[in-house]
């Protein structure tokens, strides 16, 4: 019997992002579609940044996770459009990022609301570019710790 699409979404929630393993590829909004096409499962993925080196790893991890669950006929396709946006990161994903020490994207202020460590709002931009394409470097003026901010895209 075919597993339901809902069940498959739940399986994919267990596939971590290779760069930020506390969040899943579903939390990040990288998995765009899951659908049965007859006896073949079609999964649509989208890259975060054009040059993100994690893209091919994610595609492989998704395929491995589904094959491990017994899916035999599988088509994993990467689509550019509509382009990925940080607005697609789930509320659960945002909470996990914050817990991990990465301030989640804020489309209103376009900067972190507060330091993820001491919660002070006395924060300053160091650079719009950080340890991965999706992050910027900020510093807290109160506890003086540098921290990552998941920048809006």
């Amino acid at each position: 019997m075919q597993p339901s699409v809902n069940e498959i979404w739940q399986w994919l929630e267990g596939v971590p992002d290779p760069e930020i393993p506390v969040v899943s590829v579903v939390d990040l909004g990288i998995v765009r579609s899951v659908a049965w096409n007859g006896d073949r499962l079609d999964v649509g993925l989208t890259p975060t940044y054009s040059g993100c080196p994690a893209t091919s790893v994610i595609s492989r991890d998704v395929e491995t996770a589904l094959r491990d669950r017994g899916i035999e006929k599988l088509a994993v396709e990467t689509k550019l459009s509509p382009p990925w946006t940080t607005d697609w990161i789930s509320d659960k994903g945002r909470a996990k990022l914050l817990d991990y020490g990465i301030a989640p994207p804020d489309p209103v202020t376009r900067g972190p609301k507060a330091c993820p460590y001491c919660k002070s709002d006395n924060v300053h931009l160091i650079s719009q570019f950080g340890s991965t394409p999706c992050k910027a470097q900020w510093r807290c003026g109160s506890c003086l710790e540098p921290f990552d901010y998941f920048k809006c895209l």
Binding site: Y49, L80, S81, P83, F129, G130, P133, Q137, L153
Partner: protein, 252 residues
């Protein structure tokens, strides 16, 4: 619209991103401060990702069985279609930032216009790239202002870089028969139409940076048509393509 004209255009977009991406990667581990090293490498990564998208589409349109990697690694200098500006050497950090600012401001306007291309795959790549390039343009313009309106030494280096590189900007705004055909088909904007916004954007940055663009009006062309690349491109490709040329088909 012949497939060859589309192919030429897609190679122009892809080669601009690829060549500038490679140039920026030459700074990796050598930039003047850690934050700028990271920012430069990230910009390189975005551009090489964009180049992959453009050249994949170019190879599809060509339909000759070549792949994006074949176009990147196995063409010679005369088959590259990038503008001359992006192949110019890094020079000092001021020269790299000046080249970047002059290109990013054009790149941003070009991609914004391409978002409404009548050729859907072009619109899709543009919509993806424009978000990344917005960050590139913000950084290079901000740094150009800080270094221009900086110390006597940094200002001198920025003005020298501008004098050297400004003549290469004209090629990005001057249509040839490929650009004209693409504009007629609604696939790409008419380049001359980007000029007012480009000059306004550059003018704002240069004013704030206390720098003065040369007024002689001379422009250097020949990159995007492949007629005459500068000597620098061949040297760059020797390094970039070395592995695939020495060990054809090598993978890791």
């Amino acid at each position: 619209m012949s497939g060859d004209l589309k192919f030429q255009f897609l190679c122009r977009m892809g080669d601009n991103a690829l060549v500038l991406g490679h140039r920026l990667s030459e700074w990796c581990g050598h930039a003047p401060m850690l934050e700028e090293d990271i920012a430069t490498a990230n910009t390189a990564l975005d551009l090489i990702g964009q180049a992959t998208n453009w050249l994949t589409l170019a190879a599809d349109v060509e339909g000759a069985g070549r792949k994006a990697d074949d176009l990147a690694m196995l063409r010679d200098a005369w088959d590259f279609r990038n503008v001359l500006l992006v192949e110019q050497p890094n020079g000092d950090f001021g020269q790299t930032i000046t080249r970047q600012m002059l290109f990013d401001q054009w790149h941003l306007l070009m991609l914004q216009a391409l978002e409404t291309s009548t050729f859907e795959p072009v619109a899709e790549i543009a919509a993806k790239s424009v978000k990344e390039v917005t960050y590139h343009a913000e950084r290079s313009s901000d740094l150009a202002i800080r270094l221009g309106d900086g110390t006597q030494e940094s200002r001198g280096k920025m003005q020298a870089a501008l004098d050297l590189l400004y003549p290469y900007c004209g090629e990005m705004l001057k249509s040839d028969e490929v650009d004209a055909a693409l504009a007629d088909a609604g696939i790409a904007p008419r380049l001359e139409k980007l000029a007012p916004d480009y000059h306004a954007a550059i003018g704002d940055v240069l004013d704030a940076a206390t720098l003065t663009a040369p007024t002689h009006g001379f422009i250097q062309t020949g990159g995007k048509s492949g007629r005459m690349h500068s000597e620098h491109l061949g040297h760059m490709l020797c390094v970039m393509q070395n592995l695939q040329r020495s060990y054809p088909g090598a993978q890791w």
